[in-house]
């Protein structure tokens, strides 16, 4: 003999959830009321409970399993930024602003004269950097346009005779201190070297 189905599909659908004890109070009461009057659903519920018993297995030891779970490692500094103390947020912001300002100043040449090493200065002036320091005074470089690379000048070997003569004449005119005036260095000492210096 085959078991018959209850015509109330909603109630039948709820039976396994009822058996598992997962219904809310209202639905639980509704199913109980229906079961009191429905032999088909009582039979189906009994079948469901028989399946649950048939597949019962020993319950694993929770303590043994939990012993294999590594404790949560507390991560220092995991507090979200917006929840950190105000002084810490303020200090971070100040540092970031200072760093940004420094970066911008360096990239733009700082808006004023910049001291460069003697050896580099001598190269700008076309003097051999390998020669011993003759007590030359600090030289300033012209401000660099943003995004341009530093150009130290050309090698003496690349200069023509005429350019060398022009260079020597110019050097004779340099007396002691070179003015820390960007206008001075903005004007190339060696005329035409920029265009011709690198060519053979």
């Amino acid at each position: 003999m085959t078991m018959r189905d209850c015509p109330d599909g909603v109630m039948r659908d709820l039976l396994p959830v009822y058996a598992a004890g997962r219904l809310g109070a209202e639905q639980h009461a509704a199913v109980e009321g229906h079961l009191a009057a429905c032999a088909e659903c009582r039979a189906e519920l009994e079948l469901i409970r028989a399946v649950i018993r048939a597949y019962a297995v020993p319950v694993p030891d929770a303590a043994v399993i939990a012993a294999h779970i590594r404790p949560r490692r507390r991560v220092t500094g995991s507090v979200p930024f917006h929840r950190q103390p105000l002084w810490r947020v303020a200090a971070t912001a100040t540092l970031m602003i200072a760093a940004s300002a420094t970066y911008v100043a360096v990239r733009s040449g700082g808006g004023g004269p910049r001291a460069i090493p003697d050896s580099a200065a001598r190269l700008v002036a076309g003097v051999d950097a390998s020669r011993p320091d003759t007590g030359a005074t600090p030289v300033t470089a012209a401000p660099l346009a943003t995004g341009t690379s530093v150009r130290l000048g050309v090698s003496l070997a690349d200069l023509t005779d005429a350019q060398l003569e022009a260079l020597l004449a110019a050097m004779e005119g340099i007396e002691g201190n070179v003015l820390a005036d960007p206008e001075v260095m903005a004007k190339p000492i060696i005329q035409g070297s920029d265009a011709e210096g690198g060519r053979n």
Binding site: G21, V64, I69
Partner: protein, 185 residues
Amino acid sequence: MSSASNEDRAVDAALIERWKGGDQLAATMLVERHAAALARFAASSGVREQVDELVQDTFVRAFNSIDSFRADSTLRTWLFTILKRLILDRRRAEKRRGETVELEDGHAVQQYDALDAMVADETARRVRQAVETLSPLQREVFLLRVNEGLAYGEIASIVGSTEGACRVHYHNAMRAIKEALGDDA
């Protein structure tokens, strides 16, 4: 979603937070809440040996990646999904080693021989035989619904199907089991 399910979610969420805060006892409580269901699922999926080890691996993996757990599913559903992947991995590994335990419909009754020892009840044996006549997908849906009382949506996310299809699988399975038991009587 039932209020019981909502309550389960709230309790699980609170325990997870406690564990994240360093309370290791909360981990034990979470294991106690879900280990039996996972063991049942493993056994009903054809796992015959080392069920406890499989359940343990499921929890270890779950706790290691607890931050990836999203509240759009229940913790139990998420654990079932992890366990199912582990079962499939184990089957693949066993197959590579030649220890095939492929769950074919015709062999399914033999797969549960080990469980026979645990369940002496004659009625239970007949019920299991009836359940084994189902297709693997039907059986999985049916047992998740009956053993755990999961919602169709939760079952769908575990077995990789749709809510509607799971509902149909469940009712077809119930009808088939009734017929099998009726014919057997």
